[in-house]
């Protein structure tokens, strides 16, 4: 992008985003009041279990939500322009040009009947006024940049002739062929084996530095986050439960869910009998508990958890949606109350039996 009128401030700001699906069984609040921002050249990791709204958040940013889904509230500002207020035509110019996306499944995200070079060239021609020939050259160049050997020949091959890792590189090449400001990577390494994972991450990191491109990295792999991200957003049942820079999230997490996630990573440097798991399952989005959404699975559960917890700033830049005090203590609720209220407050402090 040319820096003619560069917007001051973060590249992408998502404010109070709500995406809901209107199904026959009721309204599913897939993304509920999500707020975050990504600065130029920054990497944001979005973490959470399956079904917590990570992918829907990214699809909302691209405005690719299909019926019965709908973005019902919020703002998505890219360089200060609200994407949600844009006409579909203008949005199409944003997609692929300013914001690109790579998908989880490299196996099926490429059209099997066209050659890889063809598909990249198509993306190039979509956004820049170049000839067929130039677009093709650009495609070959991009394949070379993402580290595909013998790029010239590979460009003439069909997706089924490439391995999974190569296909993911082709996807990355396609997404980056137009020099986007923001790359949304939806679980880019989940379908790949570990050695290929490392290579793909290396390619992404390398290109991020060269192009000063921001990345929104969606994953449930905390290892990938630790390696790539500057800031982390932890999502649970459609809400952001914790948001902080990567060191804080791994070093001193506040929300019990984040703690649980970290405890459930197998570690090679410690010997433990059994891996900690977060008990229970994610609540059905059609039947969310009142109050804190995590309370049924939370080891710190208190009476106060029946009312929705505040989204508090426990440290500067570190947000958490939990009743626990910034120090991690149970909150001092109604301490100066009297009579039955005081009793209630005392009750609230005790951990309720499961």
């Amino acid at each position: 992008m040319t820096a003619t009128a560069r917007h001051v401030g973060p590249l992408l700001e998502v404010k109070g985003l709500r995406t809901q699906f209107f199904t026959q069984d009721g309204v599913v609040k897939a993304v509920d009041d999500v707020t975050f921002e990504i600065g130029h050249g920054q990497t944001l990791g979005v973490v959470g279990e399956s079904g917590c709204g990570k992918s829907i958040t990214s699809l909302s940013v691209m405005r690719l939500i299909d019926r019965p889904g709908k973005i019902v509230a919020g703002e998505i500002l890219l360089n200060g322009d609200n994407l949600l207020a844009m006409k579909e035509d203008a949005m199409r110019d944003v997609r692929g040009d300013q914001v690109s996306m790579i998908f989880q499944e490299p196996m099926t995200s490429l059209n099997p009947v066209y050659t890889c070079g063809d598909q990249i060239a198509e993306a190039v021609q979509q956004h820049t006024a170049v000839s067929r020939r130039e677009a093709w050259d650009r495609a070959v160049e991009m394949l070379r940049i993402v580290g595909i050997p013998d790029a010239k020949r590979r460009a003439t091959e069909h997706p089924h002739q490439l391995s999974g890792g190569m296909r993911q590189r082709v996807m990355i090449a396609m997404a980056l062929s137009t020099d986007p400001d923001l790359l949304i990577a939806d679980e880019p390494t989940t379908a790949l084996d570990v050695t290929i994972q490392a290579q793909i991450l290396e390619v992404m990191r390398d290109l991020r530095e060269k192009n000063r491109m921001a990345i929104m990295l969606i994953t449930h792999d905390l290892g990938v986050v630790a390696e790539m991200a500057d800031e982390v957003v932890v999502m649970y049942a459609g809400k952001v439960v914790e948001r902080a820079d990567v060191r804080t999230v791994f070093g001193s997490p506040h929300h019990p869910y984040t703690k649980g996630l970290l405890l459930s990573i197998p570690r090679l440097d410690e010997r433990v009998e059994r891996l900690e798991v977060i008990k229970g399952t994610v609540p059905s989005p059609l039947n969310l508990p009142s109050g804190c959404l995590f309370k049924r699975r939370c080891p710190y559960r208190m009476r106060v958890c029946d009312t929705a917890p505040p989204y508090q700033e426990v440290q500067p830049g570190h947000f958490s949606r939990c009743w626990l005090t910034p120090a991690g203590e149970p909150p001092d609720v109604g301490a100066d109350a009297e009579g039955p209220e005081a009793e209630q407050a005392a009750d609230a402090l005790t951990v309720a039996p499961r």
């Binding site: 050997p149 013998d150 996807m171």
Partner: protein, 323 residues
């Protein structure tokens, strides 16, 4: 930090260069077969399909060449040659190509059959072109856009489908004047597109969710490009089959129309008019019924064999079996 990353990227750069050098030296260069080479391979392995293509080809050549060679013979009546036996030359040494003999009006049957085949094939192809045009347009819009537009279009399909086709065609030909080839083509096209539309819509509904279509949307491709480049080609297999079967269908519909006397008039020759004309002589000259009947059967059979073969050949998931 910056220092480290510079070192890292320099390292990556160097490794890539080495890899590239090594690769260009010893890369497996087995020949890559293109999609169309694969299609041809698969098609040629299917004997029935090749047979169908051959029959259609021969009939087409017959229908194009013979009428142009024999000139007006297909409708020239000759007073003293009624039901004359087959001959190649007349008594005065003129080459006439009457290998099937003459009909009750002394018309060269071989030439007339060629003209009739020409008319029927023309009707089949043109009607299918209309059918596919409407069907693909309606089907792809319904399948891609979905929602209430899809609902309305599919109800229109239901309505067209619920009308008895032959009677609608009869009405149209009665209204616009029977006997005109293009009216018949138009009538068949207007009633026959529903199957193609439904097939394509069904294909599109599933293709819309396919990852590479989503990926194309995420890269900012406009709908018409997504439809034409990423959704129509993989949906073509059933459409091609429907089209080839549609040729056979249209030929049969035209024949039935003409047979009922609502198609082309006695002036022009089609398989239907020939059948109808020959019916009165069923017992005295059964061959006059059999000739156009056989051609009709051949067209229908060959078209469906061809359709099956094309469907298998066009499917990109199939591979050529090793012998």
């Amino acid at each position: 930090m910056a220092n480290r990353s510079e070192v890292v990227s320099a390292d990556i750069e160097r490794r890539r260069r080495e890899e590239a050098e090594a690769d260009s030296a010893e890369i497996d260069r087995t020949p890559v077969r293109t999609y169309w080479q694969l299609v041809r391979g698969r098609f040629l392995q299917n004997r029935l399909a090749v047979f169908g293509l051959g029959v259609i080809g021969v009939l087409a050549l017959y229908a194009i060449i013979i009428p142009s060679v024999t000139d007006e013979a297909w409708r020239t009546t000759q007073l003293f040659r009624d039901d004359a036996p087959p001959e190649l030359f007349t008594e005065d040494g003129k080459f006439v190509f009457a290998v099937l003999g003459y009909n009750e009006n002394g018309v060269n049957l071989f030439a007339r059959l060629a003209k009739a085949t020409q008319t029927s094939l023309l009707i089949g192809l043109a009607a299918v072109a209309i059918i596919m045009g409407i069907g693909i347009f309606i089907g792809s819009i319904a399948g891609y856009v979905g929602g209430w537009i899809d609902n309305i279009l599919m109800r229109v399909v239901d309505i067209v489908l619920s009308l008895p086709g032959l009677f609608v065609i009869l009405m149209i030909t009665a209204f616009f004047g029977a006997g005109n080839v293009w009216v018949i083509i138009f009538a068949i096209g207007l009633t026959g597109w529903t199957t193609a539309a439904r097939l394509l819509r069904a294909e599109f509904l599933s293709l819309r969710e396919v990852d590479y279509v989503q990926a194309a949307r995420a890269l900012g491709a406009p709908p018409q490009r997504i439809i034409l480049r990423h959704m129509l080609p993989p949906a073509m297999a059933p459409i091609v089959v429907a089209a080839t079967l549609g040729i056979a269908d249209s030929v049969v519909v035209e024949a039935s129309l003409s047979f009922l006397g609502f198609g082309l008039g006695g002036e022009s020759a089609s398989l239907g008019t020939m059948l109808q004309g020959a019916l009165s002589y069923f017992f005295s000259g059964p061959l006059k019924v059999i000739y156009p009947g056989v051609v009709l059967i051949l067209i229908v059979l060959a078209a469906s064999f061809l359709g099956d073969g094309l469907r298998d050949a066009l499917d990109p998931r199939q591979r050529v079996e090793a012998k």
